[in-house]
């Protein structure tokens, strides 16, 4: 088995995908690597999930190629991919009441293989990661009985247990309360500082600007912009992307902020 590269990188090159006659992606090129948080913005139905499924190898592109550490994704086995790229889905409910510990332990599967039982070492890794994410009080609670924010942190813990350096997260902030949203962003920043690479789709441009090192915008099946947050997020783009008016300004600390324009101002700006 090939060892993971010290500078992991996942990229899609000129990806085309269509569902029936409807074209979903039309030549998308997007990549990210260690030490980056790439936030992907896009309206509902822009093709974010499809792009993620292509990058993770769950779907194959009609045209174009996905490359992992410089080699075609298709040249890796599922297990090899799992040791390099972890997928964090939205916090869902499982039909069976696995404990948080058991869910996170599933992250050791790519390392142990399907047949070997977890060893003491795997248990230590799992417990360490759970403690690090601050959910150790939940460790023996059923995953089916914890809150949405706690489930999301559990799934992040499972991704970290895989030991993969690249994380692909599908709208992790959806359904989280304010506290969990901020906690989530802090964890992502920490992971990035430690050399993880994160690709995260989000419906919150504010979140993206807080933590992302890069922002890309997916609009009507194409990457409309890809660059540093300051350059990408402009009032004009936000209006085109979401169809509503926002104010964009830099706060006294040098960070770029968004403020919605509501009331009479909205209708004026929309015109």
């Amino acid at each position: 088995m090939r060892e993971p590269s010290p500078r992991p990188r996942l990229e899609g090159l000129d990806l085309h995908f269509s569902r029936g006659k409807r074209s979903v992606l039309e030549g998308v090129t997007l990549g990210f690597g260690a030490g980056e948080i790439l936030a992907l913005l896009g309206a509902n139905g822009a093709g974010k999930s499809t792009l993620f499924r292509l990058l993770l190898g769950f779907l194959s592109a009609k045209r174009g190629e996905v490359r992992l550490d410089g080699a075609p994704l298709s040249s890796f086995s599922r297990r090899e991919i799992a040791r390099r790229v972890a997928y964090v889905p939205q916090g869902h409910v499982t039909p069976f009441p696995y404990t948080v510990r058991e869910v996170v332990m599933l992250g050791r599967l790519p390392e142990t293989g399907l047949l070997r039982a977890p060893r003491a070492q795997d248990r230590e890794i799992v417990e360490g990661i759970i403690a690090r994410l601050g959910i150790e009080r939940l460790i023996d609670r059923p995953y089916t009985e914890i809150s949405g924010g706690e489930r999301q942190l559990t799934l992040i813990a499972r991704a970290l247990a895989q030991g993969a350096r690249l994380l692909v997260m599908d709208e992790p902030a959806t359904g989280l309360d304010y506290g969990y949203q901020l906690r989530l962003m802090r964890h992502l920043s920490d992971l990035c500082a430690e050399g993880h690479g994160v690709l995260v789709s989000t419906h919150h441009p504010e979140h993206a600007m807080q933590i992302a090192t890069r922002i890309a915008i997916l609009h009507e099946g194409r990457i409309e912009a890809d660059g540093p947050p300051q350059a990408v997020v402009t009032a004009e783009r936000m209006r085109r992307l979401y169809g509503v008016a926002v104010e964009v300004f830099d706060d006294p600390f040098g960070a770029r902020r968004l403020a919605p324009v509501v009331g009479r101002a909205t209708s004026e700006a929309d015109r």
């Binding site: 499924r53 993770l56 190898g57 769950f58 086995s77 599922r78 297990r79 090899e80 991919i81 799992a82 040791r83 790229v85 972890a86 997928y87 889905p89 869902h92 499982t94 039909p95 069976f96 009441p97 696995y98 404990t99 058991e102 869910v103 599933l106 992250g107 599967l109 790519p110 142990t112 399907l114 047949l115 039982a117 059923p142 089916t144 009985e145 895989q162």
Partner: protein, 332 residues
Amino acid sequence: MRLALLPFLLLAVVLVALSVGRYPLAPSDILGFLGACLGLVDLPPERFDLLRNLIVEIRLPRVLAAGLIGASLSASGASFQAVFRNPLVSPGILGVLGGAGFGAALGILYSGDFLTIQISAFAMGLVAVGVGVLIANLFGAASMVTLVLGGMISGALFASALSLVKYAADPYDQLPAIVYWMMGSLGAVDLKQLKGAAPAILIGVGALTLAGRALDALSMGDDEARSLGVPVQATRYGVIATATLVSSLSVSLAGMIGWVGLVVPHVARLAIGPTNSKLLPASALLGASFLIAADSVARNITRAEIPIGVVTELLGIPVFVLVLGRARRAWA
């Protein structure tokens, strides 16, 4: 409850099952007989022969059959529940029971020989699942929903074929045989058939247990299982094939024995948790104990034997109602 306790439970149930019957034995008789077999205890020869006849010839085959069938139905039920991510799934989900019922009826109609009936039931059980999976894949790769629907369609197809066979059967002789077969019975199983079926059932249950970790990942969802490095389709169809083989074998041995494959995995899950590498052996052990106990009831509660399928239903339903109360939270 811990997994390690379940073998002792099984052993205790086996001891009780070997001692109850028309001619009751004390547990000390059974232990004495075991000792005599090993040359540790001296028994008078006529006493030894009597015990040998009762224990080895009459009761042991039934106990072994009940144990094997209970284990296979429960382990395959638990596997199907994991594959379909649904705790309400039973081994019949893909049409195996409908197929086996039709196969058995066909065997009764054309031959009446017990071995032919068994082989026919086994083969048709496999065919029915094959048809269900085929229907599911008819319009592109099967999803969970199309698999369940394919199984329903196939089950309905074989159920109507069964009705046709019943209609064609001789109402004085063959029809009652078909009806009794549907109720399940361990009365006709002998040691020779067990020797044939036991290795396949044990290997099957062992293989399902080995797939436990992959099943855990699979019960999180296909995409997540893939992202954890699990070969999703291979695992799914491998487990379906193994569980079908095992449950089809048990149906062919003893006819339809309902509720075991649905209820026992639930009880096991409440006792030891949902982790499949533990749940599957626990279900097998618990299912074996349950069916041996149910068969003891079926043999002894009245002068004539009650079909075991009826007993498992009568016992299974109250258990399931109790389980429902405790499991409600876990499903919500």
